[in-house]
Symmetry: C2
């Protein structure tokens, strides 16, 4: 074949896990120009005299699509481990809500998002869907870091950080969208209604209308706890899913987060409306919320992607660890070791996650024409030796710290374990200082 001999970046000497039709390419090569993948294939098929501005030697490791985290509250890194092992309501009411009321500011979300992005980049995440308040801080952090993001402004029917008057909640979201839509190819602003029990029907519908008008996604925590289901049943006589369906909110641009306590009819409603799902198993386990019927949802053809949730309920943002837990949790709860095989789990963190976010035309797999979001994983380590199957090694043995290079939109943002866009040391020092104030403020020893 013929290849133009002028590229920005060449990644070579690794096993390319494309998550596309090409499957796994044992000794592969990826060529990047202007932020896009212009060629991917076996090294043997490429022109011998390639000429790239820079070449990354994958040293026999894995080259794969950047991981896509479909649900996170990035600023909550500042609350990582603030309170664990508590009953859900005590956790929320004694720790998280007071901490949020007192300490969430535009500066805090910017700082916490930078810390989250450092952690995400260092563990191979190249795109994240976020939902929080003062979401401008998350956008700014993402732009500064050069990470792809879908930051969604939070909407609730009570005073929230940055939205002292709840009557303005949807307006604030609208202003957020106006401010950031079209500003960068990397940032896709969206809307995040916290839940059916913190937003009334009018708010839900107005927020969804806004998302529709602005052609963006609408996220909502949905059927996360048994209490939520009871509440909706008592107030409206229907399940949370059916409630949103009746309100006209379920469609292909709505992403339901968690979907744990749902029945067959709910799954059918999600399938019929094309609603997508973000599943965050570690958070659901740690908070004892329950186990989402992921295998059943996938069997009904739902678009479903993996997420970590925020650091107050996980407590990390490591998608490789989350993949491992996702597979194991559903094997044991289904009583069937064949469910969620490794390759499928990798897809839930890459191409399927891209489908959930409606970005699969540009990211999620290594294919010609897609944006160059990819990671290089070091495998020359005891815990990754030997490799019989790359998917198995990724899901059941690799961890975030094996990520060696991260490229987003063609730019190397993590280079041989070093950050190139953010000052990690400064961010960590600032968060540690803030955490001292938070701990003192909440009387945490």
């Amino acid at each position: 074949m013929e290849i133009s001999a002028d590229f920005d970046l060449m990644i070579t000497n690794g096993t390319v896990i494309t998550m596309a039709e090409a499957g796994i390419i044992p000794d592969g090569l990826v060529l990047i120009k202007d932020g896009a993948i212009v060629w991917v294939g076996p090294r043997a098929d490429s022109t011998p005299t390639l000429n790239a501005v820079r070449t990354i030697d994958a040293a026999g490791g894995f080259i794969l699509p950047g991981l896509i985290n479909t649900h996170v509250h990035a600023p909550m890194t500042c609350f990582r481990g603030l309170s664990d092992d508590q009953p859900l309501m005590r956790w929320l009411e004694d720790y998280i809500f007071p901490a949020e009321a007192r300490f969430v500011t535009p500066e805090m979300t910017y700082l916490g998002a930078k810390l989250a992005i450092l952690e995400m980049i260092a563990s191979g995440t190249t795109t994240f869907a976020d939902g929080y308040f003062c979401e401008d801080g998350v956008v700014k952090a993402a732009l500064e870091a050069g990470i792809r993001a879908m930051p969604a402004q939070g909407v609730v029917d009570f005073p929230a950080p940055g939205v002292s008057d709840p009557a303005r909640n949807v307006t604030v979201a609208q202003e957020f969208l106006s401010r950031w839509q079209g500003v960068s190819d990397l940032v896709h602003p969206a809307v995040f209604c916290h839940s059916c029990y913190t937003c009334g029907p009018d708010t839900l519908q107005r927020a969804k209308d806004l998302a529709r008008r602005q052609n963006t996604l609408f996220f909502i925590h949905l059927a996360e706890t048994k209490d939520e289901v009871s509440m909706l049943q008592q107030a409206h006589g229907v399940t949370p899913v059916r409630y949103l369906k009746q309100l006209g909110i379920l469609d292909r641009s709505t992403v339901g987060v968690h979907l744990i306590h749902i029945d067959e009819a709910d799954i059918a409603d999600l399938a019929m409306t094309g609603t997508a799902v973000a599943s965050a198993p570690e958070s659901n386990m740690k908070l004892a919320s329950g186990v989402a019927p992921v295998v059943k949802m996938l069997a009904q053809g739902l678009r479903l992607g993996l997420g970590t949730d925020g650091c107050a309920s996980n407590n990390d943002l490591d998608m490789l660890a989350e993949m491992d837990t996702m597979a194991k949790l559903h094997k044991v709860t289904c009583g069937d070791p064949t469910v969620l095989p490794a390759e499928q789990v990798v897809s839930l963190a890459t191409i399927e996650a891209a489908r959930v976010l409606g970005l699969d035309d540009r990211i999620g797999s290594l294919e010609m024409g897609k944006r160059a979001d990819l990671i290089v994983l070091e495998i020359n380590r005891p815990h990754l030796t030997p490799v019989y199957h790359p998917y198995s090694a990724l899901v059941f043995a690799a961890r975030g710290s094996d990520v060696r290079h991260v490229i987003i939109d063609g730019r190397v943002v993590y280079d041989n374990y070093a950050f190139t866009t953010l000052d990690a040391k400064a961010v960590m020092a600032e968060v540690t200082s803030l955490a001292g104030k938070i701990g003192a403020g909440l009387n945490i020893s």
Copy 2:
């Protein structure tokens, strides 16, 4: 206080997590001489003019007891990821048993154990209880690496690697004990009967008698699957636990591994006899064996420790990851976020695990007089920032790769991320070469 000013090793500038009465010491100091801990306490309480052969600066990180893995099959690192996502019997009969029959040799167990020990050391494990065939290889690897180990020779009633005549199974175990007992303070040889369904009652009793005579531990996989319980019920009309009790095998020197499918009466029998338990949640999840009633067993006062199981069913030996999964799995399956709080989970991988192995007089906590088995964890990393509670950071955010120094019996075996006793590169290359032959032999593409 007065301290003799002559130490082999001083570890300073870190938070000491003692897992003893002293609790957590924010700015602590550990002094080591002749392989023992001779002092641990606040740095401010120590003599200002300390004089040690070497000082390790923990750089603000955590200093804690080395982790203790109560159940592993070290040589099976050679089969890591050989076959996943399979029904249990197909996994065993089409992959693991044929691989073991053809490829388990004294050279293979030595090589596989070296790889396992590299992985364990690099993720903070300083003691492991092993069970396999050709167990001499594991002992040799442990001695070479300088890791503390309880290697148990496998016993089954069919021809096994190194034991072609099953009539000699207990004799081979006896010879193993004779060969290695008393050879090194680091190695505690033991006996491992595979299970109640692979060993007849006579074998079980003779193996237990051997262990009793030699004053060592007896390990056995117990109540791991529903099939095992049905089999025992059909053959003997009792549960696996009751069966062993009737055979006189349950006592304080027996460690039952897994204990998943058990009832209240079984737990009472385990408690009454003082039998200890090794629980390996990730393996139980991946093989869909089930969820052990760990919370109930702990409530009955059983000695219970954490283990990883072998690499064919996990697929890693990372105890920090296993701690995270242990906590989360039981929270969600009990429907209660307060069970297995972080501090307790750390104890299951340190002092409680030492109790399971009967080694709590010498390891499992940082106390004066105990052997110096400890690790230093780097916390100056995005995913470990901030730290509100050290136990929470350890269980819910740290991972094996955060371990920076490992000291066993006073010897630094992992020094600023570098192995000092084994040649990791050579071991990995040898295992990769062997895996090529195993894959080809089993027709694995």
